[in-house]
């Protein structure tokens, strides 16, 4: 099996298989990257499940840094494992990763451009009165009702979004 896997890995990395000319791009279209050992996928799945457990257990400690690391850090690791091993992005032509990465960059650009106006409620010459009032109202309500009321969700209703 190890030899078979080595052979499969070699075929994954060969330039010919990368371009997918072995079978004809239109007819078969696998680009030679599909030959992975059966065990590999299940092993990756096991890692994903273990990471899921860690991401659920981590926040239970109530430590903010641990929560951030386990919840969001692990999410990034899980996404990486799925993209690399299930979607096989590394075996695609480079330009595919480039235009997928471009979409991600635009997402970050959007965040960078807009976040200042959304996350802050006051600025140099402006003030988001509605958002400030809503936050103050909500925090006051939470302070007065620390345990929350499942049936009183209408008390938490806000017209301000």
């Amino acid at each position: 099996m190890a030899t078979h896997n080595k052979t499969k890995k070699q075929s994954v990395k060969s330039p010919k298989s990368k371009k997918g000319h072995e079978h004809g791009p239109a007819e078969h279209g696998h680009g030679g990257h599909g030959e992975h050992g059966h065990t590999d996928y299940i092993t990756i799945w096991k890692y994903l499940v273990m990471l899921l457990v860690a991401s659920v257990v981590g926040p239970m400690f109530g430590i903010k840094v641990v929560t951030l690391l386990t919840a969001f850090g692990i999410a990034v690791v899980k996404a990486y494992l799925v993209i690399k091993h299930f979607m096989h992005l590394p075996v695609e032509r480079k330009f595919v990763a480039y235009f997928v990465g471009t979409a991600l960059i635009f997402m970050f650009l959007f965040y960078a451009g807009v976040s200042g106006d959304v996350m802050n409620h006051t600025g140099r010459n402006w003030s988001n009165v509605a958002a400030k009032q809503e936050t103050e109202r909500a925090l006051k309500y939470i302070q007065e009702h620390p345990h929350g009321h499942h049936g009183d969700a209408e008390d938490e209703t806000s017209s301000d979004h």
Partner: protein, 189 residues
């Protein structure tokens, strides 16, 4: 008679696969914009943490497990298709569709509980984001399952086996979106 695009490729990448990656790039902008907006509002409204305490982490974790497992069956279906085993690819795609149905059913139960508790899409901004993001994701799950069914039927007959990989790539993307949605909506509270 096949469309011209399926008989040639100018990029060296099979046309269908290139098209799926284009779709994924555009979906990144859609979901990225939505999740980015949510993160901005979450950081600007500390009360969101209290609102989020009403989401059920265990249901979210179970759904994450379901989607991760369905991603496994989808990639195993791809492997079967590569080995020209259409019947096995069909069975594994059916398992993936089963995962999709499980996900949607669990989400339906979860939303029923939340809506009957008074947490609707108009309750506050957090719940607006919650239903919009999770709902948009669920629509993608349903659409993916429907397309997967068509691909599975063809695969069973040994036809268009390359489409098993294509629908699998889309499915893994749907999984990746949920991988980020889960901590944002169910853990950050």
């Amino acid at each position: 008679m096949k469309p011209v695009a399926t008989t040639r490729s100018a990029s060296g990448t099979p046309t269908g696969r290139l098209a799926v990656w284009w779709v994924i790039a555009s979906e990144i902008v859609i979901f990225g914009g939505l999740l980015g907006s949510y993160i901005m509002h979450r950081l600007g409204h500390p009360e969101f943490g209290d609102y989020a305490s009403h989401t059920n982490t265990w249901i979210g974790a179970f759904n994450t497990l379901v989607l991760l497992t369905s991603s496994l069956t989808a990639v195993l279906a791809h492997q079967a298709a590569e080995n020209k085993d259409g019947e096995k690819a069909f069975q594994l795609l059916m398992c993936t569709i089963g995962g999709a149905l499980t996900f949607v059913m669990v989400k339906s139960v979860e939303w029923t509980i939340e809506i009957t508790s008074g947490f609707t899409i108009t309750t506050n901004a957090f719940w607006s984001f919650y239903y919009t993001a999770a709902g948009l994701h669920a629509l993608h799950v349903i659409a993916g399952a429907i397309i997967m069914a068509f691909v599975a039927v063809d695969a069973r007959q040994g036809k268009e086996l390359q489409r098993v990989e294509l629908v699998g790539i889309y499915w893994h993307f749907v999984d990746v979106v949920w991988i980020f949605l889960f901590p944002l909506l169910y853990i950050a509270k």
